[in-house]
Structure formats: structure tokens, C-alpha cells
């Protein structure tokens, strides 16, 4: 059976530090857009940390939630693409074929998670910043939609390596850049088709929830809700 890549994000571990955000920029050749374009909502962060405040000082509760492409099994972005640039891969990823994309941006409009980003300009790196570019990841040009790929280049490299060694991919062997960097190990990546994998085990937690799950998008990212202290005088 094909792999079904998925992720679990434990919000009880997440501290909102954004190591994932910068790691993603470095791994995936995401260009910075500068202050003016950022002000127009054109900054590209394939993963972002949402922050929620509830209540008033001092009884204010703060919550962090990293949001990236949920790699939905029933992805609203896919059927709307007239050129099949957004498509479903055999391993369950929401693929994005850059050279098919003609920039209609229908997919971004359809996506309820706001995780697709359009290239309004050709990306540019002021020399020698271009030397930081990862040769394993293509640079997206103007008019093309881009989004989180679960670091498909790392997935492919891991699968090829395992095939060359005539073995199956080991659980935890493949890590997207965000997962690899996360200091609190809030993010776990793996194969949901393997019930023994760490990600499958965690996805069965009683804290598990899906972001906007009621929309029926069948996300492959599972969030584990924040927990609370079980000791103390009031429990």
C-alpha cells in the first residue's frame, strides 16, 4: 500500500517559537517579499504560527497553533484547478505542478486554511543570497501558486534511499524541515497507512482534533489540543 503521509502537531508542546517558519523558508527557497508587499498581504509563509488571545489582562489565555497545508484527502483546492496543477498524489499529498499552473488562483480562493501563496513577482535574491538556495527545490516564478509540500523533496530522497537499500522507509526517517527543527518536538511526521507509526499512534489520541474538520476536507494534519494540569487544589 502506498504511503499516506501525515502529521501530528501537539499544541501542548508548541511554544510558538517559529523555528518551523524559518526552517521552512530556508529549506524551500521561499523568497522574502519586503515590507511593502508584506503590507499588501503577499508574504509567503508556507507554515505560520497563529496566535489567539482570549480574555482580558491579567486573565488572558494565549494559544499558538502552527498552520500549514493540511494535505486534505478531500481537498477543495484540487477540483477547482482548470489545468490540473493542483492534484492528489498517490501518497495523499496535495501536489502542485508549478509548470502547469497558469495563476487563476482558484485554488487559493477555495482553500479554507489560507495556506496557498501566489507569486506576484519573480522572486529575487540580492547576490550572494542566491547561494542559499536549495538545489533540490525549484524556485517558483511569477504567476505561479505555491504551498507547503510536506518537503516532498525529502520524502522522495528518503524513499529512493530506502529502495536502494532494499528496505522499507523507517518510521521517523523522513522529517520535513519544520519537524526536524522543532525544539519541543511538537511536530511528528510519518506514514498514516502504518498503524504502528508514531504519527498514527498520536493521531488516535483523545486530544486529537482536525482544523475546520466540519468542512469535510479530511485533513492529514491532526492537532492535539492543549492539556491542563491535573493536580492542585481545584481538581
Amino acid at each position: 500500500m502506498a504511503h499516506q503521509w501525515g502529521m501530528v502537531i501537539d499544541l501542548d508542546r508548541c511554544t510558538g517559537c517559529e523555528a518551523c517558519v524559518v526552517a521552512c523558508h530556508a529549506e524551500n527557497n521561499i523568497s522574502t517579499v519586503g515590507e511593502d508587499e508584506a503590507a499588501r498581504g503577499r508574504a509567503k509563509h508556507w507554515i505560520r504560527v497563529e496566535r489567539y488571545y482570549e480574555g482580558e489582562f491579567p486573565d488572558v489565555k494565549t494559544k499558538f497553533m502552527p498552520v500549514l497545508c493540511q494535505q486534505c484527502d478531500a481537498a477543495p483546492c484540487e477540483p477547482v484547478c482548470p489545468t490540473f496543477a493542483s492534484y492528489h498524489t498517490s501518497e495523499g499529498l496535495n501536489g502542485q505542478v508549478y509548470n502547469r499552473c497558469i495563476g487563476t488562483r482558484y485554488c487559493a480562493n477555495a482553500c479554507p486554511y489560507n495556506v496557498r501563496f501566489f507569486n506576484f513577482y519573480n522572486p529575487a535574491w540580492e547576490k550572494p543570497l542566491h547561494l542559499q538556495l536549495n538545489p533540490d527545490v525549484s524556485v517558483r516564478s511569477v504567476g505561479v501558486m505555491e504551498k507547503c509540500t510536506f518537503c516532498v523533496q525529502r520524502i522522495k530522497a528518503g524513499e529512493i534511499q530506502a529502495a536502494a537499500e532494499k528496505r522499507v522507509v523507517k518510521d521517523g526517517e523522513i522529517q520535513p524541515a519544520c519537524v526536524q527543527s522543532c525544539p519541543t518536538k511538537a511536530m511528528v511526521f510519518g506514514d498514516l497507512s502504518d498503524p504502528q507509526s508514531e504519527v498514527s499512534r498520536l493521531a488516535r489520541s483523545n486530544r486529537a482534533t482536525k482544523l475546520l474538520g466540519e468542512l469535510g476536507t479530511l485533513p492529514k494534519v491532526t492537532y492535539l489540543q492543549r492539556d491542563s494540569w491535573h493536580g492542585g487544589e481545584d481538581s
Partner: protein, 757 residues
């Protein structure tokens, strides 16, 4: 000549000859023969060390073949070379165990920054004008050596001053040897977040002038007084790893985390319970907890040992700190204090931390001593789940005693330079930017401007190096031999080591190599004190003395040990042997609390001003990295800018809307920035991130936002002389409409999935 070298030269010459006559010579690029063997498309991983903050995390650098424009022997050309593509944590390194923070991830951009200084520069316009001309290394070194020999000739060696960020490992040894053999003034170490108050308190309470190593992973109750230990304070990656473990790494066991501060920091945002505390009252709060524990006989007073005896009234059960009395002063209900005290006492191991603004008050030392005493009473000092001190190796207690009074000495330097007597004639700058990171009221800029000759080893022009006469650009960390002895974050002895991860891109030289070169040119005692030819020779000489110790690698001889350590990124001891506390030296009688003093009257300046470390820019030294500028701040989601945090009730009173430009004025200066109306801050406090407001720091940071340090009062922590950077009062006024660039949009909303928790 080796065949390879011959090929290189003839290839370079041939290419140049072939290109001759092809139009504009400026567009001719020479193709060099690669200096290393690489396979296209295959990544190799090289160990390195993150130098962007004092934590000292170990990294692995992903290196792949690429083509770079480089200068070799004065010629610009294209070279196929190994280029770092990504920095990850080194999984074998005991501090960060394969993990890395956002700042560390951006380390690549230091090397590839378009505004890096590419070749030595000499000032060509008036000082501070930013006009420099390119010169050769020979000329640059000649200038520096002639300045130093002139000092020697006039017997004024003491008028050479070294101004540097606190150095550790062999860089420190090279500098110390240079300084003592030259007989110059002792080096002045400067960094904004120097944690000097905590070191001083720990020295008194526990006998170690060092930051603590915190065993969060095994703790069951954590009380943090203002310490941003998940963001920027101490060893944030090591602490975040421990935090993840204490939350969900132990099935069925989850610690409680209480944060005590006046503004919800990035760390406070993850707390189970947030307790508001007026600035400077942290020590009082800690002792009130201790009072309850003693009153209810949950621990005997004697169990706090020496750390308890440092506090006035400890043996009597701290009668002045009854929760009912403390409630009247700080507004926290006595029932809350009593409950937290009982919870902490009943939930061992419990640990208390203090850091950042809580120690940057006039009574900062008392606050830190109070928390140390509470920690001892809770019984977690030197125990699993508590704090301990990292064993050090060989060296001076890494960056601890040496760093004592750092802020003090920059202030002294300024005063001395202003007065003129024995003032420095030659100032050497390394990785420190005090013009940006000291209050304008200290007059550091004016003082430095008076020094007749200033040379900087910096890789960038910043506010301080812009005043330089000579720039001797250092290699970037990825291009350098690196070594480090992290002062905290692991219970093992850790000695990090890394060879360069890449060849240099530009015509730069490693600072310690330049110092060795200068020493040899000076000759005499200075040359004798630095007998090594290159910096890696000095590293090998000291590092291989470790080879018989039981640790991360075994080797049959020093050479093999040296090789293995380079492959692994250092050496660390096999056993965890944290240092247990000993009775430290205290200054006489037990300490009484004094009310914190604030600069400015509450009537004219109604708000406490709280600058804080930026998650992306740390102390401002990382504002030049575009990835850091565009990464949204975790709490405000602001990109490419700065902001002033204001409570909604305060904003309403002053008619301030989100994004309005407001003016913040202290007795010492004023600044303008957009308002961020947020429920995360007390109504009588306004807060501002440190990091932006650079006048002169590359194309990405210059002229962006405002610098809160500039308006701080020159108030100091009474006993230590450190800057009390959270003790300034300010007034606030709306100026007009403005804008603020936020990634997250509106600030208060309900999370769709998480509202029921």
C-alpha cells in the same frame, strides 16, 4: 609545486587570456579550479557551532556543490565550491540535540548577506560618514601594527582598549594572551543581555557565577519570574527540549508551569497560570511564596541553607512577606499566593527561575537572591528536575567571572574616554555594538568618537563600526574555525569544535588569525605569548589535551582524537556531572528588599517602560537578516517593523487605535512607533521589542523602526552596576494615524478548534 596547484594557476591564466579583448573587462569572470572534491547533487553534512546568541548550540551544515563568485589572489572569478544550504541542529550535541531556534536557522544569511564587508576598508571621509575605500590586507595590517608600535614607543600600551562581545574558548585565550603581553587595558566585554545580575546572585547563593542549567524535563512544577526561557533567555533550545518533555514526554505526568510578569511574554504565553506582577516586585512575590511554605511547615527554614541565610528575616519565617501584606502592595490575591506556594511545595520536583526584566530593576539582585532562596527551599537545587551548574573544562569559568561588571565597564569606558586622562588611543572592536545597545544617556557614541584610532573586526558596518578608521573583516562563522564551551544547557562537560564548513567567499580573514599575525609582526613579548602560526594550531594544542578523558569518542592518540572531534563537532563527557551548589561568598549581612526605583515621577511619566528581547532579532544584532525581518513575531505577528504594546483600556483612555503612531517619551529621550493594542499587557505598562531602530546596519535594517534602548534612563542595579533596563518610566501620546504590517490580522479572536479549552 603540486600538479593540482599548477593546473589551478594555468587554468586561471588561460581563462583570463582567453577572455582578453572580449569587451568590458569588468564583466570578465575567471573560472577557478575547485579547491575541494565534491560530487554534484550530493549533500555532505559538516558540524559547526551557532554563534548568534550565547547559548552555543551545535549545528550540522548541509553543504552542496555550487558556483560562487569569489575573489582569489585579488582576482574575481567563478569557483565550484561547497556551499552551505541549510543549518540544522547537531543530533549528537548535548545542548540542542538536533534542534534549533529560528535565529539559528537564519545563520546562513550572515554568510551570504549582500552587505557583508568583502575586503579591508580604510575610512576615506569624516568619521561616521560611512565613506570607506578598499585597501589590501598588507596595508591594513601595516596601519594597525604602526598604531600599536607607536603606543609601544611612547610607553602607552595601557591606552590600547579591546571592546568585544564576551568571548569563550580559545578566542578568549588568544585575546587574553595578546592583552597581557602587550600590557594593554583589560578587554571590555559588552552585550546587552549580559545576565550579570543573575551571575552575581548565583555566585552569592550557590558559589557559581554562572547561568543555571535547568532540568525542566524532569520537573513537575515550574515558576518563572519573567524569564523568557522558551524564547531568548539562557539556553532556549535546550530549555525548549526540556519543556516539551515536561509537557508530554512522560505518560500520565504533566508539569504545571506558572509565569509571573507584567506582560505576557512569548514564554508566558505557554503558561498554565499567568500571574501579573508589578515591575520590581518579583522578589517580594517569591518570598511571599516562601513565607507560606515556612508558615505552613511544608519545609523547614534550614533546608534553604546558605541561599536562605542571605535573605533578611529568613530564619524568622519572613514575617514581612505574609501574603496578606504582599497582596496590598502588588495586587495579587493572597489566596492565589498561598495556593501556588502549597502547590509548589506539594509537587516535587519544583523549580523557580528568574531572568530578563525581573533582574533589570534597581533591586534586581535582591529579586534574584530571593528566587534562589525559594529554589533552595523547594529543594530542587542540584537535584533532578531543578537547577544545577554545568561542569566547565580547563578554562576559566566560561564567560562568568570574566564577564562580571560588563555593563559597568562600558559605562566606565565612556566616562574615562570623556574625561581624557589615560583615555584609549587605539580601540579594537569585535562583535559588539554598544552605540546601538546602550542608553544615549551614557554617551558611549560621543566617547568612542573621541578615540584617535578605531579598528573593527566586524563583518558588517553597524552603528559602532561605522565610527571605525579601519575595518578588518572577519570570516563568517561558517567560514571559520570555531570552538566553544557553552556555560549552561547541559549537565555534561561540553567542548564544541568545528572546522570551517566552507571556503571563504570574500577577501576576509579570521579575527584570531589576524591577531596572531599582528602579534608576530610586533615581535617581542607579544609574539612569545602567541607562539602559534594559525588559530587551528592553538585549537589543536589545547583540544587534544582532552583525548584521555572519558567522553563522546575514544582515540588511540591525540591526532586521531583531533580528527574525530572535528567530525563530531566537539567532545563531551560521558557522564552527567552537574555541579552541586556550594556556599558562595556574600557581602556581609543578609539582604533587605528595597523598593524598586524608577526613573521619572509617576505623575509626569505614568507608564512603566518594558523593552524585551525580540524572538527574531535577539538584542538587535540579527535585524540585518531578511528571514528574521519577514518572520512574523510570534505574539504580535508584526513583520519588518516595530511596535509599542498598549493595554486596550489604556489605549481607549488615550484615544489610540491599532496602528496609530504614538510617541513614547522618557526623561532621556523620545521615540515614535505604531501602537499595538493587546490584552497581553498590564494597563500601567507599555512594552517594546528590542532589535529595530538601527541607523546604520545593512540595507534590510537601516532606518527601520525605533530603538527602545536609546530612551532608557542610565539607572543601574544598585549592587552590581548593571543597566536596570526595565526601570524607566515614560509618558505616551497619540501622534496620528500610522500603519503596522501584521501577518495575523486582528489580535483578538477565538481559535476555531480550541475555544472549549
Amino acid at each position: 609545486m603540486q600538479r593540482r596547484d599548477f593546473l589551478k594557476i594555468s587554468a586561471a591564466g588561460g581563462a583570463a587570456a582567453a577572455l582578453e579583448g572580449c569587451g568590458n573587462p569588468d564583466h570578465q569572470l575567471i573560472r577557478f579550479i575547485p579547491e575541494e572534491d565534491l560530487i554534484p547533487g550530493l549533500a555532505t553534512w559538516k558540524p559547526s557551532i551557532c554563534t548568534l546568541c550565547p547559548a552555543g548550540c551545535g549545528t550540522l551544515v548541509r553543504v552542496m556543490q555550487g558556483e560562487a563568485e569569489v575573489v582569489r589572489n585579488g582576482q574575481l572569478g567563478i569557483l565550484k565550491m561547497g556551499l552551505p544550504k541549510k543549518i540544522e541542529g547537531n543530533p549528537a550535541h548535548p545542548i540542542n540535540q538536533g534542534k534549533l531556534c529560528p535565529r539559528g536557522q537564519a545563520g546562513l544569511q550572515v554568510t551570504y548577506h549582500p552587505d557583508r564587508i568583502k575586503t579591508p576598508l580604510a575610512r576615506s571621509g569624516p568619521r561616521g560618514s560611512g565613506q570607506f575605500k578598499e585597501i589590501t590586507w598588507d596595508d591594513a595590517l601595516k596601519q594597525l601594527v604602526s598604531q600599536l608600535t607607536a603606543l609601544q614607543a611612547s610607553k602607552e600600551e595601557g591606552r590600547l582598549s579591546f571592546l568585544t562581545s564576551p568571548l569563550r574558548g580559545q578566542r578568549r585565550t588568544v585575546l587574553d594572551n595578546f592583552v597581557s603581553a602587550f600590557k594593554s587595558a583589560p578587554p571590555i566585554e559588552f552585550e546587552f543581555f549580559d545576565n550579570q545580575v543573575i551571575r552575581s546572585a548565583n555566585s552569592q547563593s550557590f558559589g557559581y557565577a554562572a547561568l543555571p542549567t535547568i532540568d525542566l524535563g524532569q520537573s513537575n512544577y515550574v515558576i518563572s519570574f519573567g524569564a523568557d526561557f522558551l524564547g531568548t533567555w539562557n539556553s532556549p533550545v535546550a530549555q525548549s527540549i526540556g519543556y516539551g518533555h515536561m509537557r508530554k514526554g512522560r505518560p500520565g505526568q504533566r508539569a504545571k508551569f506558572v509565569q509571573v510578569e507584567s506582560r505576557v511574554s512569548q514564554t508566558g504565553a505557554s503558561a498554565d497560570e499567568f500571574v501579573p506582577c508589578p515591575p520590581g516586585a518579583e522578589g517580594m512575590f517569591a518570598l511571599s511564596l516562601a513565607h507560606v511554605i515556612l508558615r505552613d511547615k511544608l519545609r523547614p527554614a534550614a533546608s534553604a541553607g546558605h541561599a536562605g541565610s542571605l535573605i533578611d528575616g529568613w530564619a524568622q519565617g519572613l514575617p514581612d512577606y505574609a501574603p496578606e501584606k504582599v497582596e496590598k502592595q502588588i495586587g495579587v490575591p493572597s489566596t492565589t499566593i498561598a495556593r501556588i506556594a502549597r502547590e509548589a511545595a506539594a509537587t516535587a520536583p519544583a523549580v523557580a527561575l528568574i531572568g530578563d526584566a525581573a533582574t533589570a530593576q534597581t533591586n534586581g539582585l535582591f529579586n534574584a537572591l530571593a528566587v534562589n532562596a525559594l529554589n533552595s527551599l523547594l529543594g530542587s537545587v542540584g537535584k533532578p528536575g531543578g537547577i544545577s551548574f554545568s561542569p566547565s573544562w580547563n578554562s576559566r569559568p566560561a564567560a562568568s567571572e570574566a564577564n562580571k561588571g560588563a555593563a559597568n565597564s562600558i559605562q566606565k569606558l565612556a566616562a574615562q574616554l570623556q574625561s581624557g586622562s589615560d583615555a584609549a588611543k587605539v580601540l579594537l572592536l569585535y562583535n559588539a555594538n554598544p552605540v546601538f545597545a546602550t542608553p544615549a544617556a551614557w554617551g558611549v557614541r560621543e566617547a568612542i568618537e573621541k578615540v584617535p584610532f578605531i579598528a573593527s573586526f566586524g563583518s558588517f558596518i553597524d552603528e559602532t563600526s561605522a565610527l571605525g578608521d579601519l575595518i578588518l573583516p572577519d570570516h563568517s562563522p561558517l567560514e571559520s574555525w570555531l570552538d566553544d564551551v557553552p556555560p549552561s544547557g547541559s549537565a555534561r562537560t561540553v567542548v564544541s569544535l568545528a572546522p570551517p564548513a566552507m571556503n571563504p567567499l570574500h577577501n576576509t580573514r579570521s579575527m584570531p588569525d589576524v591577531l596572531l599575525d599582528v602579534a608576530h609582526q610586533l615581535g617581542g613579548d607579544v609574539a612569545k605569548a602567541l607562539p602559534w602560526k594559525t588559530y587551528d594550531e592553538t585549537l589543536k594544542a589545547t583540544f587534544t589535551t582532552l583525548h584521555k578523558e572519558k567522553g563522546s569518542q575514544s582515540a588511540k592518540d591525540p591526532d586521531e582524537f583531533w580528527k574525530k572531534a572535528q567530525e563530531q563537532g566537539g567532545w563531551w563527557s560521558a557522564d552527567e556531572k552537574p555541579l552541586a551548589p556550594v556556599a558562595g561568598k556574600s557581602s556581609g549581612s543578609p539582604m533587605k528588599n528595597t523598593a524598586p526605583q524608577f526613573d521619572g515621577s509617576p505623575e509626569a511619566f505614568p507608564f512603566h517602560f518594558l523593552p524585551f528581547a525580540s524572538q527574531m532579532f535577539y538584542d538587535g544584532s540579527l535585524a540585518h537578516l531578511p528571514w528574521m525581518q519577514e518572520a512574523p513575531d510570534p505574539l504580535s505577528t508584526v513583520m519588518w517593523g516595530t511596535w509599542i504594546e498598549i493595554n486596550p483600556r489604556t489605549a481607549e483612555k488615550l484615544n489610540i487605535q491599532q496602528g496609530d503612531v504614538v510617541e513614547v517619551a522618557s526623561q532621556h529621550g523620545k521615540l515614535q512607533a505604531p501602537a499595538l493594542v493587546t490584552p497581553s499587557i498590564a494597563p500601567d505598562v507599555i512594552a517594546m521589542p528590542i532589535g529595530q531602530g538601527h541607523e546604520n546596519f545593512t540595507r534590510y535594517a537601516s532606518g527601520r523602526g525605533a530603538n527602545p534602548i536609546s530612551i532608557l534612563a542610565p539607572t543601574t542595579v544598585v549592587e552590581t552596576g548593571a543597566l536596570a533596563w526595565a526601570a524607566t518610566r515614560v509618558k505616551l501620546a497619540r501622534i496620528g494615524e500610522g500603519k503596522i504590517v501584521m501577518f495575523g490580522g486582528s489580535l483578538t479572536e477565538q481559535s476555531p478548534e480550541l475555544k472549549h479549552r
